[in-house]
């Protein structure tokens, strides 16, 4: 078949690295399945769900064709998928699964067991809306709901980043300072099913980068049997949770280290976040996922018009890079935080609440003794508004994001929020408190 491998097939996802650093057109799911094949975990347990299904199918054909040594466990539910990888990981295996939406919701209980047992499982999450009503399209409510389950969360802007994140996730998870499970999130259909020309590593390069998993303790160590998952009461539970919190804090050091090693290998460099044209910006949007690409395009367009627009793309949501966030946004006048999830707090989406919290009480924006603002925030902390967008796969166009910037620039010019704000693309805002604006992008009233 040579180069005529049809995109969207197992052959495409499993192509050999005939040319080193070859650029190749893959869908997001193909790219992630390829990364999984190259990592070659000892155990994969998975259950199909749209839009993740391709991964399971591709991986099944790698197993059927003898291209991986992985034990592939075709479980009867996502609850069992997560349970089986918990067992496999505790037994000393490098274990992976993948899911979306309701599948992630069904895993819920066991997500906490994976992180609480300090098991370095890696799981691609192909972001999709949660039922009800049932909807198979892109939405971040699934992974956002799991944001406090003790998993590291890496988010991806495109198939390249999803591929790169899966490979880095293995090293992050298994670092002895971390030993936490990692979710690699990427947008359903928009990334999972769209073709992108991307650069892939050779199998050997990936194997060398991730190394062999050699846990300190395992169920299968004949000389040192271990009890995993004991009853842990008020005399020790709290200390174990504190250790877990410290592991998540340690991930803040480890993620940039792994990114630096990966950049040395690939030339592609990732941080906790990406600040795009932020240095002199007055207004910016904070985005995670595929909408970051659209936002970058809009920022460039606005810059050509002389408007000081910027973008902050969040790659790591857990651990939350609060200080970097404050540093990057503290000097701006107005920021819109984009949430592809409502969260139903009635006080703004999850990303909004984290970002605005990160900007509160900064040394840099506190007035000095004379009452003058100091540091990077000469005008005080920026106005932060929330924009909920794209639920259930609703498209987000450049014009939508331009409308968000228009709102920010109007605020900078002194326009007060009004009930009918942003009539048109932006819905009437919800005003849960005098200083909180939540807009819904492109929704009918």
């Amino acid at each position: 078949m040579g180069e005529d491998v049809r995109p969207g097939t197992a052959e495409a996802a499993g192509r050999d690295d005939r040319a080193r650093r070859r650029r190749t057109a893959l869908t997001g799911n193909e790219a992630v399945a390829l990364a999984m094949r190259q990592v070659e975990p000892d155990v994969v347990a998975a259950y199909p769900i749209t839009p993740q299904t391709d991964i399971v199918q591709f991986f099944a054909s790698f197993v059927a064709d003898g291209r991986v040594k992985t034990e592939f466990v075709t479980v009867e539910s996502e609850h069992s998928a997560m349970s089986a990888v918990v067992g496999a990981s505790a037994a000393g295996a490098r274990a992976m699964t993948a899911t979306s939406a309701n599948g992630l919701a069904l895993m819920w209980e066991v997500l906490y067991i994976a992180s609480g047992s300090r098991l370095p499982i890696v799981m691609p999450v192909v972001n999709r809306a949660l039922s009800a009503p049932i909807n198979i399209h892109c939405d971040h409510s699934d992974a956002m709901g799991a944001r406090d389950s003790g998993w590291v969360q890496l988010w991806s802007e495109d198939a390249q980043e999803a591929y790169d994140n899966v490979i880095q996730a293995v090293r992050i998870a298994e670092d002895p300072r971390v030993l936490l499970p990692v979710m690699v999130c990427y947008d359903g259909f928009i990334i999972s099913h769209a073709l992108l020309n991307l650069e892939v590593l050779t199998d050997d390069e990936v194997k060398e980068f991730v190394g062999t998993y050699r846990p300190d303790r395992s169920l299968l160590d004949p000389d040192r049997p271990v009890t995993v998952g004991p009853l842990d009461l008020y005399d020790f539970y709290f200390e174990h949770k504190r250790q877990q919190a410290e592991a998540m804090a340690a991930a803040r050091e480890v993620i940039p280290e792994v990114a630096a090693a990966y950049a040395a290998l690939t030339g592609r460099s990732y941080g906790m976040m990406e600040a795009y044209r932020l240095a002199d910006a007055e207004a910016a949007v904070v985005v995670l996922g595929s909408a970051a690409g659209t936002a970058r395009f809009v920022v460039d367009r606005l810059r050509r018009e002389g408007r000081k627009a910027g973008l902050l793309k969040l790659r790591v949501f857990r651990p939350f890079p609060a200080s970097e966030m404050a540093e990057a946004l503290g000097g701006l006048r107005a920021v819109a935080v984009m949430d592809r999830c409502d969260g139903f707090s009635a006080a703004g989406g999850p990303v909004f609440n984290e970002v605005r919290s990160a900007l509160y009480g900064l040394d840099g924006v506190r007035p000095d003794a004379a009452g003058r603002p100091q540091g990077r925030a000469p005008n005080g902390p920026p106005l932060v508004v929330n924009v909920v967008y794209g639920l259930g796969g609703r498209d987000v166009d450049p014009e939508d994001i331009e409308a968000v910037f228009d709102l920010l620039f109007r605020r900078i010019e002194g326009e007060e929020p009004r009930g009918e704000d942003g009539a048109g693309v932006l819905s009437r805002s919800l005003r849960p408190s005098p200083n909180t604006e939540v807009h819904y992008l492109g929704v009918r009233e």
Binding site: D42, V43, A45, K69, T70, E71, V73, T74, V75, E76, S77, H79, S80, A81, S83, A84, V85, V86, G87, A88, S89, A90, A91, G92, A93, A95, E109, V110, I113, S117, L219, L220, D221, P222, P225, V226, T227, V228, G229, P230, L231, D232, L233, F236
Partner: protein, 321 residues
């Protein structure tokens, strides 16, 4: 399958994977069942346990009563968890990264097996993982304080099916989990009781040797839930067997066999009488329920005998024992 059952002396010398000093109640049937089972383990063992009495009372951090590796994950997923452990073992053995031999045991109470863990168990049996799944059946959610499960016998009073003016206790018969498990076409499934330890150990040995998943359902009286004197545990399982309330049977490659036939079948009353959970049945109009329960026990025994005849090897083939 021919095998020599370990002698009592050999059993006594077997590694004690579950040590004394755990915090199970006096008279609890579960650790007795586990120790009999594990004495038959041919190699090192890894035990996975569902949330429940056995788990919480043997692994109170920083202590553990397990000399073997042990994993508890959650209530309903012990079969899936052990599927993962066994898959890891196969993978790491193939790569020569693990060299020791292991056998794998998954344990759950009846709540974790008949009810909330049934899907996970079904998945493990269907996929063919080489794990021995053991249910210690005490007929209710004892760890949370004696709530009904689908293993609770008809007529028993629990805290969620109490006997009262308008209720005789549980109205539904127990789920036939042995039939459910064996319907997966697994190589070995059996029902056992600690009073008949030789039968139990023989079944455990067969389960450990099975080339695939095996299922054992072991009766494990609970003095708290059944409401009887703690010294009567073994006597009660003997009565359960001798009244045919708890027939000792096995299903080997689809062939059903009754492994113990009481010389003289005792009336069900003998089993019910010592237990507080059935006390209300001996009052007034509830007495007819005992007759109903006796009929069901008789009917079940006839069904087992019929299954035995139906699944017997064809003429000319010798059954191995």
């Amino acid at each position: 399958m021919s095998l020599k059952v370990k002698s009592l002396k050999e059993l006594a010398a077997a590694p004690q994977w579950l040590t004394p000093g755990h915090r199970m109640c006096a008279g609890c049937g579960a650790p007795i069942a586990m120790r009999q089972l594990l004495a038959a383990a041919p190699r090192r063992v890894v035990v996975g346990c569902a949330t429940g009495c056995l788990e919480v009372a043997t692994t109170i951090y920083p202590y553990t009563a397990w000399r073997c590796s042990f994993i508890h994950s959650a209530f309903e997923n012990t079969a899936a968890t052990m599927s993962g452990v066994e898959a890891a073992y196969r993978s790491l053995r193939r790569q020569a990264r693990v060299e020791a031999d292991f056998v794998f045991v998954a344990v759950g109470g009846d709540g974790g097996t008949y009810d909330i863990g049934l899907q996970s168990l079904s998945g493990m049996l269907e996929r063919g993982h080489r794990v021995v799944y053991v249910c210690y059946d005490n007929g209710a959610y004892m760890n949370t304080g004696v709530q009904r499960s689908s293993a609770t016998p008809k007529g028993a009073a629990t805290t969620t099916c109490p006997a009262g003016e308008a209720s005789p206790g549980k109205r539904q018969p127990r789920k036939d989990l042995l039939a459910v498990a064996s319907a997966h076409g697994i190589p070995y499934a059996a029902q056992a009781a600690p009073s008949h330890w030789r039968d139990l150990v023989r079944k455990a040995e067969k389960a450990f040797r099975a080339e695939g998943p095996a299922f054992l359902n072991i009766l494990a009286p609970c003095p708290r839930g059944w409401r009887y004197d703690t010294a009567q545990t073994i006597e009660l399982t003997r009565l359960a067997v001798e009244t045919c309330f708890w027939p000792l049977v096995e299903v080997e490659e689809g062939r059903w066999s009754i492994t113990f036939r009481p010389k003289k079948k005792k009336p069900l009353l003998d089993f019910l009488k010592p237990q507080g959970r059935f006390r209300h049945l001996f009052e007034g109009q509830n007495l007819k329920m005992i007759e109903e329960m006796q009929r069901e026990v008789d009917e079940n025994w006839r069904r087992l005998e019929a299954l035995e005849r139906l699944t017997a090897p064809a003429e000319g083939l010798r059954r191995s024992s």
